[in-house]
Symmetry: C2
Subunit: 215 residues, 2 copies
Amino acid sequence: MSEVQDTEAAADAAPAAAGTAPAVRPHTGRRRNEAAHRAILDAALRLLAESDGTPVTIDAIARTAGVGKQTVYRWWPSKGAVLLDALTDRADQDVHGPDTGSLGSDLQAFIATTFEAAQRDTTASALRTVAREAARDPHLAELMRSFTAARRGALRELLARGCERGELAGEADLDLIADQVYGVFWYRFLLGHAALDADTAERLASSLTRGNAAG
Amino acid sequence: MSEVQDTEAAADAAPAAAGTAPAVRPHTGRRRNEAAHRAILDAALRLLAESDGTPVTIDAIARTAGVGKQTVYRWWPSKGAVLLDALTDRADQDVHGPDTGSLGSDLQAFIATTFEAAQRDTTASALRTVAREAARDPHLAELMRSFTAARRGALRELLARGCERGELAGEADLDLIADQVYGVFWYRFLLGHAALDADTAERLASSLTRGNAAG
DNA sequence: TGTTTGCCGAGACTGTTAGTCTTGTCAAGC
DNA sequence: GCTTGACAAGACTAACAGTCTCGGCAAACA
């Protein structure tokens, strides 16, 4: 997700003919400071986790990281990009559902894991804040869309395996089932009117399995 | 939902004893202009409907309504309150689910109606904008919470009827079922990655009915 | 060693918007 | 006619995203 521009990658290109575009030349000057990069991500994550719902500002991130604002914008194109990068930085990027051989237990494990991961203290507040910011920031919204699409895709695969095994009806709408899972998750997560606990995960999994079973 | 302060309502209270709070006295001076109130709501609704995702500003509402900004704040406490009021102004406030005697058809009708209502051109854009604003505005978020709670309550009643009739298992989690409906709805409505059509409503209703049937 | 290049921190600056405050006007009642 | 309080207009404040500028410093190279 980091937007590091690699100037050196093109350094071995042939020199441009005279009179055309300026010659590609090797990188010179001071290099980007990886420590600043990390400090920004760490600061963003900490502020996100500590946020009580109020938006996290770029000024605060830069100040906390001991970094100039311009440095933030040198590495990321917008505030949203920093926030989402901070959030996904340490999370497994390749989501992989469990594969126990039974749809019921796979699904329940997947849902329970999702619920649990979002409840972890540092994550919950950060995720909520990012979701809130995404509502206003089209750039972040796009990043969130691909983020959620990846998760949904993993769940869909899990469901497809169940379908192949004949545990789900052939005409079952896998996308709708996935959206029921993530719909409940986000709805409860953002409104906070009801729990997202292991018991809920179990009920949800069994309701979905029964509701879309073959036969 | 209008936050009209009714100064006159307390006018017939007994005069305060000397030395305590100032005496309640009848209203004097120019009265509030009901036409301005309506003009603001109409302007807000129109701007919400026309909004292409960019936030609707108070300045724009006031200018469109031909009204001073202060007048807006005289009637409503915050921008969010105006927006939600504009949105709910014409909607049925008392949500009532259908009652055909069969859970399956009741549920399907309820979901289909919900999906359909949200798709109406003027509503969809307005609802999306209000949801986006609610993400940043705690006051509006609170109003939205009670707004959604009312809808969820109507759905829950519908489900409770089905439960009494024995169409749902006694141990079925009615709140979870309701949250699946509204979860899918908001998830798809806000992300826009999949349709909210009559077919989806039917599949969702039947999946929920089968997944939580008695026996 | 000295020069060039480009990142660095610091912070001033611009533009936008929510919400408040001010001013002069106008209508309702006494 | 006087008092009261709503009214339109718009100046003002405070936040915040994102840009720009500046002097400083480190990496490569001559």
